[in-house]
Symmetry: C2
Subunit: 287 residues, 2 copies
């Protein structure tokens, strides 16, 4: 499955028929087939380094910070005391990099199924993989489902940094996954998950939110701008076991000094609230 | 200049090097060269009808409402009494369609330079061109610069619905254009203009805002999500002659009944405020 032709990588997928985003390739850095998926890392001409799994862009150096910061701080800054954090997936290290920045986090466990993603990211995507050097972090290579079955009532926040609902990540959008998340959470725990684009995936988002609502009383959809994802946008499902918590109002706010110190390029407390404000065509479907 | 190959239209441009968005083509409906630009209208496979000028997508049926509603209602709903409106450009009729919906507008003048855009839109893009049937509207085919030189202190709101700063629209981003806008406005008038994407055009946005600031005391940048534009996002420069007006707080709010009646699919008063909330990397550059 070679998606590079005439020096351009094209992201064709049955998930978004009739449209395609392409990036000009400067140099292919890594290409391999793991037990789970095709892993490709290339240097693009104008978007920095790019990671693609099964031909789908996971992150580019130009805009990855929007996704990593938002999927991390939307749940962490809403939780009054996010001491214990679990990351499911996130093999590039970007989410671990952001979790490390939150002053209230004491311990972070990450469970990633594909060690080839971790190893190739360490070698070719150091700007993200530096997350693996966090002193708070313990990394397990394994199945997030199995890990959570053995760890109940343990985490304050669980972040599911997955690929799209096709291939190895398909189970991360089901009702049984949200049941497991609930069991692995401490009281009043919060989860966040990658949740597609409002322009193309609205039926899938609606269904996943309904799956989540069977186990969580408080379920919201937020968005941020990420040019290299389909439709230039990505969504986040954020859910809390605390029915009365207003997820749109952060309880922890980074100071301007912390924003500079931690190089937060996207997230701030105003963005936190604005991310939950939706166009009429989306509001109508989801709420 | 044929941008359609193997059944796909590809939007390559020196304005966004190294990246490219493509749409699968079902049928080419119109193709001509006007005095000003190449005009192409096609039926796409999954995004409805598409208008491209000089090979750059101006609107697709799937997502045009985000752009048209936002460039129109950000200024109109901030103005306490937008009785007289001028549209510069907007040859597809989409902005005129939205202006017609605002209850306080009494009269709207539109000046579009290219009658081939108007005529082909009337024939092939009726969902936008229906804006031309507004009883409030007078359409002039001509140069917006020349029109404004002859009409001073006349308009409450001026909307510049242009293509990108290349080709016929290049002058609409200059200091002298903002001087003309100021002269054509009544006291406390407001303008809005298409203003590129924060991911690729930040230096251009900054420069245009500085051009505008030489004549307007109150200049802001807002954004909305539009998948078929570069980076899946577009920005709006909104400026007021009233230095004390908070452009982020709409003075006119559509009721839920009006939203339904007028088929507003994107804009609401929460979106109005959220559109001005910017990621740190953008805030730092523009304010």
């Amino acid at each position: 499955m070679d998606r590079i032709r005439n020096g351009w990588f094209s992201e064709l997928s049955e998930l978004w028929p009739g449209q395609c985003f392409s990036l000009e390739v400067k140099e292919v850095l890594y290409k391999d087939k793991s037990k789970y998926q095709d892993v490709l890392i290339f240097e693009s001409k104008n978007n920095g380094r790019v990671l693609a799994l099964d031909g789908i862009i996971q992150c580019t150096q130009k805009d990855e910070f929007s996704y990593q910061e938002m999927i991390t701080f939307l749940p962490l800054c809403s939780h009054p005391n996010p001491e214990n954090v679990l990351i499911v997936g996130g093999g590039d290290g970007g989410v671990a990099r952001e979790v490390d920045k939150h002053p209230l986090v004491k311990r972070c466990v990450q469970v990633e199924i594909d060690d080839k993603v971790v190893e190739s990211s360490k070698q070719y995507l150091p700007f993200m993989a530096k997350g693996f050097t966090s002193p708070k972090l313990t990394l397990h290579i394994g199945d997030g489902f199995e890990y959570m079955k053995q760890h109940t009532s343990e985490f304050d926040v669980i972040i599911t940094d997955s690929s799209d609902p096709i291939g190895p990540a398909v189970n991360l959008f089901t009702e049984s996954y949200y049941k497991l998340l609930k069991q692995a959470l401490r009281p009043n725990g919060i989860v966040s998950s990658q949740m597609g684009t409002m322009w193309t995936d609205l039926p899938q988002i609606k269904q996943t939110m309904n799956n989540c609502r069977k186990h969580f009383p408080n379920v919201r959809y937020a968005t941020s701008s990420v040019p290299s994802y389909p439709d230039g946008q990505i969504g986040y499902l954020v859910a809390s076991l605390d029915a009365s918590l207003d997820l749109t109002k952060p309880s922890f706010k980074f100071t301007q000094e912390q924003i500079t110190e931690h190089n937060l390029r996207y997230y701030n407390d105003e963005i936190h609230s604005a991310a939950y404000v939706l166009p009429n065509f989306v509001k109508k479907e989801l709420y």
